[in-house]
Amino acid sequence: MKLLFDSQPIEIVPTPNGYDVLFDGQTHPVEIARLDKASGQIEFRIGGIAQSAYISFDGAKRWITLNGQTRMLTKTSTARRGARQDSTAGLTAPMPGQVRSVAVGVGEAVKKGQTLLTMEAMKMEIKIQALMDGKIKTIFVAPGATVEREQTLVEMAE
């Protein structure tokens, strides 16, 4: 079984005692001690050392808590790699919230760093600023609008 987590290729192969997990040219033999599907808890041993992990599934995301540290890994398929757009022209909401005010109009020329609109979420004000000098091409939202995370708010042109 070949996997890709946060761009890290991993292979996992069943063995008589558990699994071999392969990455970075290394093979890690793993023994499973206990598996609790209800809580997503896996107890296992790597090289004789006991480990206990809690894992939750969230689409392609994996939430993992191990030794009291939590981190999120994203499972990607090789096909979809590199598809992410890194354009500075489209400005997206960094989190869900409400648009409080829009400071610019369509066609207006703006400077890099200029505040284009403000959002509010969880009692916090967030400024959406231009990532480059340019012109406002489209504004997708109006004050009071509720937006989702990564929803495009404003599009700019050079």
């Binding site: 079984m1 997990v21 480990q51 894992i55």
Partner: protein, 500 residues
């Protein structure tokens, strides 16, 4: 005692107050917005009233709806919790006008402490130390003279201000003119009021606050301090008591000043006097009064041995507070960590989503005041506090150990939390030595490093992810969870037939 109370709040504080009610044999009425229809506090209450849309002004900030809900449900009193309308004098007055009891201080006390400049003048009169400075100045020359008198660095801030707006630190005279102009402009823009005040700037300050508590018969005492200097964006993250920077002499002086301050506004019920404490000079200055129960009240409860939420209700019901100052002493050490749904590595940006996992730590000396549970959703409408984790141990060192272990056993998936960040704070030598000031998180703690450290997954994390894929993925977990979900409005009838 009341027979029924409406709790005009949500989340952990609504739960906290309802537990106190249960123990007192008082029925509870919860209120909720659209976003909270499935929330824990709604399920826990004896009854629940829907207020309206998710936006606070349509629900938890809507005075009329709250008072109507109380009257309609037959509640005799309203507990405001903290935040929302808890420090709104007009609400307190409206509650009393509706012949309901407001569980908190009088509307007059709230009003007197509500305005920063006015309350500062009031405190000066009452002999409570305030930050050296001047109000009511106008010309640049007046400010220049005042600054010289106070000594640089000075702080210029809007009289009507709050939230850091119209605030400028001035380190030398040459910067004064520009600073005044900028501050005036911001003050006018933000508050429609260009008045400024000038005061001494205390660079490395601690936030030390004193709990006060009194009954309506005039007995008021303090219940010692809380050290709340671990902050980000002026919001507290970790609180503890006793403060590592106070001597017992200072504690006695500041406690007496807190009582004096509260008595100056005829205060009753629970309140907090916040001080700025300058460790270099061992001077303390009145900052403001919070005229309600604080988020961090549990550390005081554990170290002073009192149930503040219960006593709030008792004294509001007319009971005398039977204790004197001498009845209290601090025992052991308590720390509170606020578990927020936010990402410290991305500038503490709030994180929302469904809680896929929510396992609270347990054990002697470990208390969790929580407003969430597995399966609940964290929305962007309200503040990001998921739960408060509080520990109590014999001394500061063992309390830190206990907290570190408890944080390790607090497992939240589905939203990013500050749990790992708080571990980094607790493990820092500055925290161990009690030297954390209010600007420490921003200036000292290497948040950036935390982010970098997380970039590369550890081998164990990768192995766990791979094992999960092999053993848990595509298994019955997802399906089971969907089936277990309860739908509060149209439950079983669509799906279950009857067997006769």
């Amino acid at each position: 005692m009341f027979t029924k109370i409406l709790i005009a709040n949500r989340g952990e504080i609504a739960m906290r107050i309802m537990r106190a009610c249960q123990e007192l044999g008082v029925k509870t009425v919860a209120v909720y917005s659209d976003a909270d229809q499935n929330a824990l506090h709604v399920q826990f209450a004896d009854e629940a009233v829907h207020l309206g849309a998710s936006a606070p002004k349509e629900s938890y900030l809507n005075r009329d709806k709250l008072i109507q809900a109380a009257l309609h449900s037959g509640a005799e009193a309203i507990h405001p919790g903290y935040g929302f309308l808890s420090e709104n004098a007009a609400f307190a007055a409206a509650v009393e006008s509706a012949k309901l009891k407001f569980i908190g201080p009088s509307a007059d006390s709230i009003r007197a402490m509500g305005d920063k400049a006015e309350s500062k003048i009031l405190m000066k009169k009452a002999g409570v130390p305030t930050v050296p400075g001047f109000e009511g100045l106008e010309t640049e020359a007046e400010f220049k003279q005042a600054a010289q008198e106070i000594g640089y660095p000075v702080l210029i801030k809007a009289s009507a201000g709050g939230g850091g707006k119209g605030m400028r630190v001035v380190s030398q005279e040459s910067e004064l003119q520009d600073a005044l102009e900028l501050a005036r402009g911001e003050a006018l823009n933000s508050f429609g009021d260009e008045r400024l005040l000038i005061e001494k700037y205390i660079a490395a300050a601690h936030h030390v606050e004193f709990q006060v508590f009194g009954d309506e018969q005039g007995n008021l005492i303090h219940l010692f301090e809380r050290e709340c200097s671990v902050q980000r964006r002026h919001q507290k993250i970790i609180e503890e008591t006793p403060s590592p920077v106070l001597t017992s002499e200072l504690r006695e002086q500041m406690g007496a000043a807190a009582v004096q301050a509260a008595k100056a506004v005829n205060y009753f019920n629970a309140g907090t006097i916040e001080f700025i404490f300058d460790p270099s000079s061992a001077q303390y200055y009145f900052l403001e009064m919070n005229t309600r129960l604080q988020v961090e009240h549990p550390v005081t409860e554990l170290v002073a041995g009192i149930d503040l939420a219960q006593w709030q209700i008792r004294v509001a019901a007319g009971e005398k507070f039977p204790f004197q100052q001498k009845d209290f002493m601090q025992r052991g050490h308590a720390i509170e960590c606020r578990v927020y749904a936010e990402d410290p590595a991305s500038g503490f940006l709030p994180s929302t989503g469904k809680l896929l996992q929510f396992i609270e730590p347990h054990g002697p000396g470990v208390r969790v005041d929580s407003g969430f549970a597995k399966g609940k959703t964290v929305t962007h409408f309200y503040d990001p506090l998921l739960a408060k984790l509080i520990v109590h141990a014999e001394n500061r060192e063992t309390a830190i150990q206990k907290m570190q272990n408890a944080l390790k056993n607090f497992i939240v998936h589905g939203v990013v939390t500050n749990v790992d960040f708080m571990q980094a704070v607790l493990a820092h030598p500055d925290f161990a030595s009690g030297q954390v000031t209010t600007r420490w998180v921003e200036t000292v703690l290497a948040v950036a490093d935390l982010a970098v450290e997380k970039n590369k997954p550890t081998p164990e994390q990768l192995i766990s992810a791979a094992l999960a894929e092999a053993t848990l993925a595509n298994s019955s977990i997802a399906a089971v969870e969907r089936r277990n979900e309860s739908d509060p409005y149209s439950p079983w009838r669509q799906t279950n037939g009857f067997r006769n």
